[in-house]
Symmetry: C2
Subunit: 549 residues, 2 copies
């Protein structure tokens, strides 16, 4: 049997586009003589649809799409994902379903049984868990249909669920497992995914076909990486990361025909390259799906904005990215020079807009109230906000979207000005620690100096008061990032951190900074998620909590 894996980039709620893409892929699979084509989880509406699912009208449009797609299944069968109404009055209104459609008819439906409800996932908000596990019978083969999380409880030390759906499904003697997914990228995700699929193959002695969504949906980036693993646990094929793809695999009585691993190199890429490529896709789809073309950012001469400019130029085209160099009286001469040089290296437009006059005009307005009070945080923040006003004026006048350039280390400890440098439509590197930003810069320079070396080697500074350095207010990023990583990604508390050898005073200080700045992060733009724990929808902290704050 020839089975096609269709790894597509959907747009949430864009039913016309999604349906058209699915039908085109069916036709392509047909041309390649596939008998079955497999799409990803909730593909008719795109994932995650969030509270759109609460609208009857939205669900009805999902049904209409399924009906439309069904018309194209006379020669080739289709597995696709869609929300579906729960016919039983008790329980949640919907199921997260996998449809098996053939000859214009829905032949079989499987409902997702394990509903992820952690980190960025909220599926129990909408869906009733599935409780039946019969396979589909197709051309003499029994296929166990599963949806994403359904296979993620096997081979885990501390399983999150008390059941494994395939433990039930296996009783029906299936020949093959299909898993349709919408599993977001993090730099650890492909390793975990590979481990989980191997664990399922080992447990059930069956081949697995795994089809994942690709593309970014605001903060969530889906890497694709769809694959086939045979019953021996060998990777037969893996589709590319971060792009659409369709591939046909032939299953015979002797196993998968022509087993081969294409794209082997993908899985051996270093984390930083995956992060780089994920961010490019994240920027591209944010603009593409919102219907915007042009980005703007403030280029400070520091490494964060330099890296964001490079990523944006690669994602959107150098002609669509503009930067403003916004020196104040405290900006060093090299900042402007470095920023100019970078823009010239990239071939992106820039303008120099000195903000000193606006800063002074505002100080003058404030003088009757501030009188002779000493220069402090108020004046520092004011400069950042004067810059933001200029950037936003360019956005409103010329149709740019402002890119935010805050990194994860700064965002964590609140080292940034709300309504100043924390502005933007999208936070590009808000899930990238400062030490990783340096790695990104090196990666960008891998084939030659794009980011001027001086930007990489100079001591980080916000340049909001004379001779300011980040190290005046913050621990060294090497140590800071290690503590933040343990606290944020690894959910380690103060005792565990001290047991790891970090100094208690430093641990307490940093954890307090993180917790005291929840209010600030609450108002920041969506952050492209590349780690297993990003700020935003996947990390939900009380703003006025007193814990460690």
């Amino acid at each position: 049997m020839k089975i096609a894996l269709a790894q597509l980039n959907y747009h949430i709620g864009n039913f016309a586009l999604n349906t058209q893409k699915i039908i085109a892929a069916i036709k392509e699979a047909e041309q390649q003589s596939a008998e079955l084509v497999v799409f990803s989880e909730l593909c008719v509406c795109g994932y995650p649809p969030r509270d759109f699912l609460e609208f009857d009208d939205f669900i009805n449009q999902c049904y209409a799409s399924v009906n439309e797609i069904a018309k194209h299944t006379n020669k080739v069968a289709v597995v696709l994902g869609s929300p579906r109404k729960n016919p039983v009055i008790e329980g949640k209104d919907l199921f997260n379903s996998a449809y098996f459609i053939y000859e214009g008819e829905v032949k079989h439906i499987a409902n997702k049984s394990l509903l992820p409800n952690y980190d960025i996932f909220d599926e129990y908000r909408y869906f009733e868990p599935g409780k039946t596990f019969e396979p589909v019978l197709f051309k003499g083969k029994k296929i166990a249909l599963t949806i994403c999380e359904d296979i993620w409880n096997a081979g885990i030390d501390k399983p999150m669920y008390s059941t494994c759906p395939l433990d039930d499904a296996i009783k029906y003697g299936p020949d093959l497992i299909i898993n349709i997914s919408a599993s977001p990228f993090s730099y650890t995700h492909n390793r975990e995914r590979m481990k989980i699929i191997s664990a399922n193959v080992a447990r059930y002695k069956l081949p697995v076909i795994y089809v994942n969504q690709v593309g970014a949906e605001t903060e969530l980036i889906f890497d694709g990486g769809s694959m086939v693993m045979n019953e021996k646990g060998e990777l037969v094929t893996q589709l590319p990361f971060f792009e659409e793809a369709l591939e046909v695999v032939e299953f015979t009585e002797q196993g998968v025909k022509e087993p081969r691993v294409k794209n082997q190199e993908l899985r051996n890429k270093p984390d930083i390259e995956l992060i780089h490529n994920a961010l490019i896709l994240g920027i591209k789809d944010y603009f593409g799906k919102l219907g915007f073309k042009k980005a703007i950012l403030g280029l400070s001469g520091g490494i964060d904005s330099a890296v964001v400019l490079c990523l944006a130029a690669e994602a959107l085209g150098k002609e669509n990215v503009m930067s403003l160099l916004l020196p104040s009286g405290f900006s060093s001469g090299h900042s402007v020079d470095d920023a100019k040089l970078l823009s010239e290296n990239l071939g992106t437009k820039y303008e120099v807009v000195p903000v000193e006059d606006n800063f002074q005009a505002t100080l003058k307005t404030l003088q009757p109230f501030f009188k002779d009070m000493p220069f402090n945080l108020a004046e520092e923040n004011l400069q950042a906000r004067v810059r933001a006003i200029i950037l936003m004026a360019f956005c409103n006048k010329f149709g740019y979207i402002l890119l935010n350039t805050s990194n994860k280390s700064e965002a964590a400890v609140g080292y940034g000005t709300l309504y100043g440098d924390m502005c933007g439509g999208l936070s590009v590197i808000g899930d990238v620690y400062k030490t990783q930003v340096y790695e990104l810069a090196k990666h960008i320079n891998r084939n030659g100096e794009i980011i001027p070396l001086n930007i990489i080697t100079k001591a980080p500074s916000a340049e909001l008061r004379p001779n300011q350095k980040d190290s005046d207010s913050l621990p060294d990023y090497d140590i800071l990032d290690k503590i933040l990583f343990q606290y944020i990604e690894k959910i380690q508390g103060p005792k565990e951190l001290v047991a790891m050898g970090f100094e208690k005073i430093l641990v307490d200080r940093i954890l307090k900074m993180v917790n005291m700045n929840e209010w600030k992060r609450f108002q920041t733009p969506p952050v492209l998620r590349v780690s297993p724990k990003a700020f935003g929808v996947g990390r939900r902290m009380p703003i006025e909590g007193k814990y460690l704050g």
Copy 2:
């Protein structure tokens, strides 16, 4: 048996404070000869603790608090709520538990069975559902212990869960139901709560003791309203709304001794008065729990900022509230006069800070780029942002917290400037439609004119261009608010709205405005929630979704 209902205001993660409050209430109950004192859900850590629950250290502190409290239970038994580790490896790590503690020992534990995971609730993110329903035996009586949602599946047309925990518990023949809750306020909540408790009494023929948390936790306001309903469905007592209280009720063989309904008037208050009182508590606790005292806001001469100023003055004391009047060239004279008069009526401080010079200075900086392009949204937004800069400078210099004054109608359709009038630490009336803001103004003026009549009667205007009126860009608020209410609170789609008689063109236009502005609302401050569906954590929409957008 004398049972005390302890309705307290906790602070999330503030274990020292919460423990001390609970112990003080135990002593007070003891002095009133209570034999049992009932506290609310997750009271040791405060509700909702959100992802703090993922930290072992946080859970260990909950255990330590329970142990500390247990020392004070030699004479009086205690029912309290705390998270608890799930001893079984499979499943979620925690239970949301009710402890029955007496004579220094935990005698019984009930685990919450129905875990709300809709609107603002995320409990399935953390907790494994409870599956045992034995009652506590105490002084010859069997008490069924339930936690909040456990009783909310009874008497519902479309139940969200397929089980009712009390259907199992009732088999053990309990004499009394205790429900410990953390159920947030909305203006419909007390009616629903009364209906649900009545439905449980009707179904199980047992008296119900219901103890709810009081106080605000950032956006969520808990109204208390704890109560006792006897087995006939009569309300025996209800504790006050929006304040801490402790009351002892005596149960005898003949039923509740001295049945009486105090605070009857509370339940007959009009919605707008409840909303008013809820907002006051919301402001008070936001400042109190974050450790701030002083608020500032921009007073435009319009009704929104006028109402917010009145609420803030009542919540924080007039001496702690400051307003800035920030006229630009487009501000009408009456705006400043009306704002001054209001401040004088309230006795709050104000300063007039004309922003025209800053606006012009920024325009001058932009001139080389904007050249002779016509005045448009860019210049309108610029004025709002110049004002925000001044307000934030006052915050940073003098320690004020900026109050946001956007209403729900504006927030819905994106009629506001991000990083301008959409700034602030807390959105006070972001869950109050414009038409309700007028009602609030009337309520504030109920005993005499505080808000000058001119502010209430003038046509709403943002005053960002000559002779601007809200009605230039928006439908009349009377119609707009009705459509928004159906779309946002009632989750009605375009077809249903047209079927209700609203004009199709208008419906499509408004729904599109709402959906296209998700990106803007993503970056706004937390909104005090007073309706069943507020913007923020309880309403989760894709930013780049294409649905109706």
